[in-house]
Assembly symmetry: C2
Homo-oligomer: 625 residues x 2
């Protein structure tokens, strides 16, 4: 046992005592990376998702990215103001599940729960696949290994997270700031080029792939789809309002400042990328094919060339996207814990592992993420249609809940503000669901429905169990009644002697059961008389009854089980104790030399038994060596 | 449960009662197929194995097959007279294992046992692969599917045999007689052609492949190898002496008549095939390659053309070889049963399944045969170097055992006869082992050694267990002493009430163990006082002790196990009863909603416990619906 324990400790860190938990108290400087990572990193795939859908429009399509991005930033602003109010009202942390359950009732809460679980899984999958996409852009020869790279990153994240949250916080700061800074530099330098270039059309430093010719005309439907895909850039903005508690005093103010900075940075990134793509004529390339290069990679090359700065930028994109997947590792287990706390998920999600984290939440998240990556080949563009729906459903439910909250409190201006937010995000949810339905949103919708049904079934089960076993009355000092003891005995040995002695100490009503598998009369009856019945009678003890059972088909356990059930049926209220003697060997290979009948008997009795049948293991341990 | 039971019955037949077993009583007519199948079918691969090694000698090699076959038939005759004497001495059935153990001691017995187990496995593998070889000769397009065909035949044989011996006996008769008759016709017609052909060189009816030019010169070493390979034709001749009991009165005479007929038929087949191959210039073709055709196929074509008779002949060869594999299915489980009866093999081989056969013997045989077929690609020629060694080792040990038997009895002529047999087969064993060592005989030798070591280890274990648990003294009516009862209790519920009631009926020394995983003081202590301790005190009952255990690392089971071990260590001779309350749900999926702590606790207590710790399951069954 020592070896695996040490390996565990090396890989996942030493176990943490419950008392070692403490609330982290951070300010905006640390808050931006921790809570903004997911939101900011969305800038790396949101605009690209929109541009990919504009490929068929050719050079014309590149122009449309600017108004679409403007619309998204407008929506982002509305959501920003809404979430400021959530921070105000829920300083202890207002996740959509909590807000929806408290203000809209359990049905809305379950909808939010399902939407969030799916959204977190997709955050993990898209973060990883987009990060690997950045890597492939820099090193195109890796393209055939996309899926393997994705699964490798997932494995690495799992390892890091199994060590627990304490060790992961510090990893966030540097890459997030490097990512933001490099992108801002690209945007700043690019903007300078645009302003001072002839006719607002700057020359790219490194040559870009040619924009393919248009193959389709623009339509409102297409632009709505582009908008829907682009909205994935907004995922993650709810993080601050979920984690207000982590900020130091003045808590709400610090949280709001952090949220403001994150939203402003995200808006600059989204608009900057859109404007520069238009100015430099950067169209997306076909994802999942050998010629693929990410939009950010092309943009960075175009503005500043393929030097060391390019590699720093792409490197930070990769790391930040991988870490944004990490947000899901922090949030998913907390969410499932909260849901399990309300009995809507299996209680296993309540158990904190050795490193103070909810291990099962992580296992399930990893399994689902791996499944998504495998099914969609690790290609971001194929995952995008499933994404954003969950997030926007949760936004909408959260805002709608806040409307009810302010209504109850009687604060009309704030109610209107959150109402605008709920309306905007609600319409967006509908648009995303409709425009992406065939491409994959149906999967998300179906999963939401399935998970709601699952959670309700789980709740129903727990309610039923609680109704059956809960007890608040005192113990009834019942009449103590001797149990009937049944002891299967195949031959006279030290093992059966031990079991019989124990039986004699428990009850005076003992039935020793002996199964005859052959038709010849058995020598055991003589042994019984001579070595057991006589000595006990001589000692003035009650003599157990010997019951012989015939078994023409050589089944050994079936007659014993039938006998036990029969005894139970015939006797009134007394308990029936079945003693199961068992040889315990020291090594697993020795186990293969002995039959597993005692294990099997226990399982069968458990399956076919009832509340009055009690199974007693009488182990006989082999001596060492 | 109903569905699988019905499927079982359909596939494997209804279960058979022990009383349905009866000895089969047969005469020579039924005895020849039952006991001669294996021996006679060897004619289908023995000569071919020899001819394959003669390929490098070209046309010259075909001539050497006649003297080699003559040597093999001479050896066969010696073995025949030896086994007649075994039948005389062991009318109850004299297998090599029995004869060697009884006359030469347990070491020789183990050697025979190992040799026979390997030989039976190879009988199954070679029978199948040679049968499929015949099929491929007739339908060359099947050649790429050799291995799959072999495994398919194995699966079919397994199914037939899982139905038990009763249903398989009848299948043997017709194919064996068809096989023997068709081959005798081929040999007869062929001999007639040879005698009346010009210069003793008859014209083949269907054209034969050209004999390739010689690429090597003849050497003694090569001829010894050819002899060794040809000796595989002798495998199976011991069958009659193993099964004397199956014959009707006069048992020995019937057995001897049957053996005589089998040996004479086999000798005619071997010599006939050799002479005709020489006369028709039939050389073997390269096995495992697309141009392969079996010797018997070429011979039949040459003598009688490719008409319906050809297909009947090849069909009977296929069926008879597959059925010869069946001999292993009958003999291997009986052998392992005999060895397990002497405690040299796991006792699981003693268990008779629902169809009266030793199921585990069949499972192991099927697994080993499949392994051999897969490793050697289902090509007979690659299996041949492993074969025959086991059989000849067993022959030698059996004859040597008979020498000791006659010496003890004082019958010198018979002793000399068996001595000649032992010498001849012993020399052959050495020749086979030496000439085939590099090609594969080393595998057989190694396996024999490994299996002997395994069987001795098994025996040692059983002896140790028996020494420890065997008991022939009467029970000591021990002082009945109350056990100490330990009951882990997490909260007050109907489940814990049931367990506590049972504990109160068992003992007055009860310790209820409550684990505190958080540092806050627990509400359970108040519940305990109010709902348990007070009412019991009021009723004048002894009040159990409440033990609270702190668990900073949130482990729940560890503190309970430690406490139990501690109690056991501190108290003298009293037994420690651990009560494990357990919620039993009705469906497996409900099981996933509850922790498996009670199962885990039982396993840990079994692993870390000792003879004084007894585990009592207190199941609480959920009500239906």
């Amino acid at each position: 046992m020592a070896f695996p324990t040490q390996v565990f400790t090396f890989l996942f860190g030493r176990p943490l005592a419950t008392s070692e938990e403490r609330a982290e108290h951070i300010g905006p400087l640390a808050g931006i990376p921790v809570f903004g990572l997911d939101a900011l990193s969305s800038a790396a795939y949101g605009p690209e998702a929109a541009l990919t859908l504009l490929i068929p429009l050719g050079l014309m399509g590149v122009k449309y990215i600017v108004p679409v991005s403007a619309a998204i930033v407008t929506l982002l602003t509305i959501v920003y103001f809404s979430y400021r109010q959530t921070i105000e009202a829920y300083p202890q942390g207002g996740g959509s599940y909590t807000v929806a359950t408290e203000n809209l009732g359990p049905h809305a809460g379950l909808l939010a729960a399902a939407a969030l679980m799916i959204d977190y899984t997709l955050t993990a999958a898209v973060g990883i696949s987009a990060g690997v996409g950045a890597l492939i852009s820099a090193v195109p020869s890796l393209q055939p290994h996309t899926l393997m790279l994705c699964l490798g990153v997932l494995a690495l994240l799992t390892l890091v997270n199994m060590r627990g949250v304490h060790d992961t916080g510090v990893v966030f700061m540097i890459p997030t700031y490097v990512f933001t800074a490099t992108l801002l530099i690209v945007i700043g330098v690019g903007a300078w080029h645009v302003v001072y270039a002839a006719g607002g059309q700057p020359q790219p430093v490194a040559p870009l792939p040619a924009v393919p010719a248009a193959t389709a005309a623009v339509s409102l439907w297409l632009l709505l789809k582009v908008f829907s895909s682009g909205c994935t850039a907004m995922t993650g903005v709810e993080a601050v309002s979920n984690g207000v508690m982590a900020f130091r005093d003045p808590t709400r103010k610090n949280a709001k400042t952090t949220l403001t900075i994150i939203i402003v940075l995200l808006a600059i990134l989204l608009l900057g990328i859109a404007v520069l793509c238009r100015a430099y004529h950067i169209a997306a390339t076909d994802p999942g094919t050998p010629g693929y290069e990410s939009v950010l990679s092309m943009l960075t090359r175009a503005v500043l060339g393929r030097g060391w700065f390019y590699y720093v930028t792409i490197g930070s994109v990769l790391v930040v996207l991988a870490l944004s997947a990490n947000t899901a590792f922090a949030d998913f287990p907390r969410l499932t814990r909260a849901i399990a706390g309300d009995d809507y998920m299996p209680h296993v999600f309540l158990i904190r592992g050795r490193r103070l984290l909810y291990s099962w939440g992580i296992y399930v998240l990893v399994a689902l993420t791996a499944l998504l990556l495998i099914v969609f080949g690790g290609v971001t563009d194929r995952l995008i249609p499933l994404f954003a729906i969950g997030a926007f459903m949760a936004f909408t439910l959260s805002q709608a809940g806040m409307v009810m909250h302010w209504k109850r409190v009687g604060n009309v201006p704030r109610m209107v503000m959150n109402g605008v937010g709920a309306l905007a995000t609600g319409i967006t949810t509908a648009v995303v669901l409709l425009t992406k339905f065939v491409e994959g949103a149906w999967i998300t919708a179906l999963l939401v429905a399935v998970m709601i049904l699952f959670m309700r079934a789980v709740k129903q089960h727990y309610v039923r169990v609680a109704r059956e076993i809960d007890l608040d009355r005192p113990i009834v000092p019942a009449e103590v009644q001797e149990p009937i003891v049944v002891l299967p005995i195949d031959r006279w040995s030290r093992i059966s002697e031990k079991a019989l002695s124990f039986a004699l100490s428990m009850s005076t009503d003992i039935r020793c059961v002996h199964v005859l598998t052959t038709e010849e009369s058995d020598a055991f009856c003589d042994t019984w008389q001579e070595l057991i019945a006589e000595p006990l009678r001589a000692a003035g003890r009650p003599v157990p009854r010997l019951v012989t059972l015939k078994s023409p088909y050589r089944y050994v356990l079936q007659p014993v089980v039938d006998y036990v059930l029969n005894v139970e049926r015939q006797t009134g209220f007394r308990k029936v104790c079945v003693l199961v003697p068992e040889l315990v060997v020291r090594h697993w290979w020795e186990g293969m030399l002995h039959n597993r009948r005692s294990d099997l008997l226990k399982v069968i009795l458990l399956m076919r038994g009832n509340r009055r049948i009690i199974v007693v293991n009488i182990p006989w341990y082999m001596e060492e060596g």
